[in-house]
């Protein structure tokens, strides 16, 4: 088998890897922030917060990521005059997208804490905020870790869709190569293996972190 194509394809994939990792990592961190706020808002007694969070989650879950990407990159500049580069648009889209799903995860975790814990905290004389921070958040955070990592892996793979707004991530690079070389089968096989290795590494990291935190 002639593997000389790898000499050209692999450097392109590694160039793409940097972009994919940048967007996925920054995206999931911001998404975690947005998602946590939205998750608490969903559980909030203030109707306005709850409504805003619901609308946000509804819009994001109700539209495909690819449409969100095209919208942020091409439509928002026209409406608001804010022109984002394709990488910044990518980060924004991944943040908003993962945020909506993380919000649901956070809400589920908050719901999963026995109401007796809160009552116990309050009866010890802690303020509601202290109760939330010291009693509710630690066990809730532990319980969402697996789901959070799962969302991160989904986000890494979702970056492949950002090809439509010319983000030079891994899949875009592979397509660029395949479209001119016509080495379709080798290119996409390499691409699949590349993702598989990348995600496998992330799964190993996930297991290590979980073991540490769960101890």
């Amino acid at each position: 088998m002639d593997l000389s194509f790898l000499g050209k394809l692999l450097p392109m994939l590694f160039t793409g890897l940097r972009v994919t990792i940048l967007i996925a990592v920054v995206g999931i961190l911001l998404g975690f922030l947005v998602g946590t706020l939205a998750g608490f808002a969903l559980e909030s007694r203030i109707k306005l917060f709850k409504g805003l969070a619901n609308v946000y989650i509804w819009v994001i879950r109700g539209t495909p990521l690819i449409v969100q990407a095209l919208y942020v990159y091409y439509v928002i500049p026209k409406l608001f005059g804010i022109d984002l580069s394709s990488n910044l648009s990518g980060i924004l889209v991944i943040s908003l997208n993962s945020g909506a799903f993380i919000a649901e995860i956070v809400r589920g975790a908050l719901n999963g804490i026995d109401p007796g814990q809160r009552e116990a905290g309050l009866s010890l004389g802690l303020t509601p905020a202290q109760t939330t921070w010291h009693i509710i958040v630690p066990p809730a955070f532990k319980s969402i870790l697996p789901a959070l990592f799962n969302q991160f892996i989904i986000s890494v793979k979702d970056t492949a869709l950002l090809s439509v707004i010319v983000v030079n991530e891994i899949t875009h690079q592979a397509q660029n190569y395949a479209s001119l070389s016509y080495k379709t089968i080798p290119t996409y096989t390499t691409l699949a293996v590349f993702y598989l290795v990348l995600i496998s590494i992330l799964i190993i990291v996930q297991k290590m972190v979980e073991r540490k935190v769960m101890r």
Binding site: Y74, S86, V166, S179, L180, Y182
Partner: protein, 295 residues
Amino acid sequence: MKRELLKRMVALGMTVAMTGALVGCGSSKDTAEAPAPVAEDLVEESVDSASDGSVEGALEGVTLSFGTSGLFAPFSYYDEDGELIGFDVDFCNALKDYLGFEIDGDMQAMDYSALTTSLAEGKLDFGMAALCATDERKQVMNFSETYCDSGQSIAVNKETSPAELTSVDMLTSGDYKVAVEKGTASHMYALNIGIPESALEIHDEITTAYESLEQGKVDALIQDTPGLAYYIKTAEDSKIEIKGEPFNQGQSPYAIAISFDCADANPGIVEIFNQAIADLIADGTFAELSAKWLE
């Protein structure tokens, strides 16, 4: 005893399967490496058989799958009613009526990279989408004679692009962002003249490339001249204009692409298409279509 026999049979079966796979690889590689002679042989044969000249009805009873782009006005695109129209669509129908073949299912519209890949892999029998018969593509598919030679042009945004940007040679400096459509002759040309990868935006579709130039996200765009001219003519409030003279004419001859598999299954089909193109040019059909779409 029985188990031993079973083992041997499995081993034998695997050997056969693997040999089959190897042979499979070998033969496909052969066709990929030496397509030209095969095609030429076929051409000579068919010239003999069709020496009475006319190829009218030559493909009677043949069914061919057909692909086009659907995004490249005025050659193939969707009108407001969602109907696939354009020069290539009409020309394909004229060839169909003249040669007598049937189209398998509907005309299939897809992105350029998907289209050329499908032709290279034999998923489509033939394609017309202002496809340039480039040297790279000739390695993986057959082409008919050229029916239109366009050349490429660069386009800039009248308001946002740097005023000094007037020729394609200036793009190699890397100071200007350039949009091209993935897998097109323009994409290939941009790489060949050495536009740095960091300055190149490779779009899946030409429509988003145009939009990026309209919004000033890029400084320039390289595209086939007729498509570019048509876009500028029809787009509302377009800020795009063509700069300089068309270039790369030798590498942008539009031709009908015919997959190797299709040529193998229908010996002489490339020559039949060539004769049909010549006949349709001779009887004025081609001029009629040009007047309708390209002027």
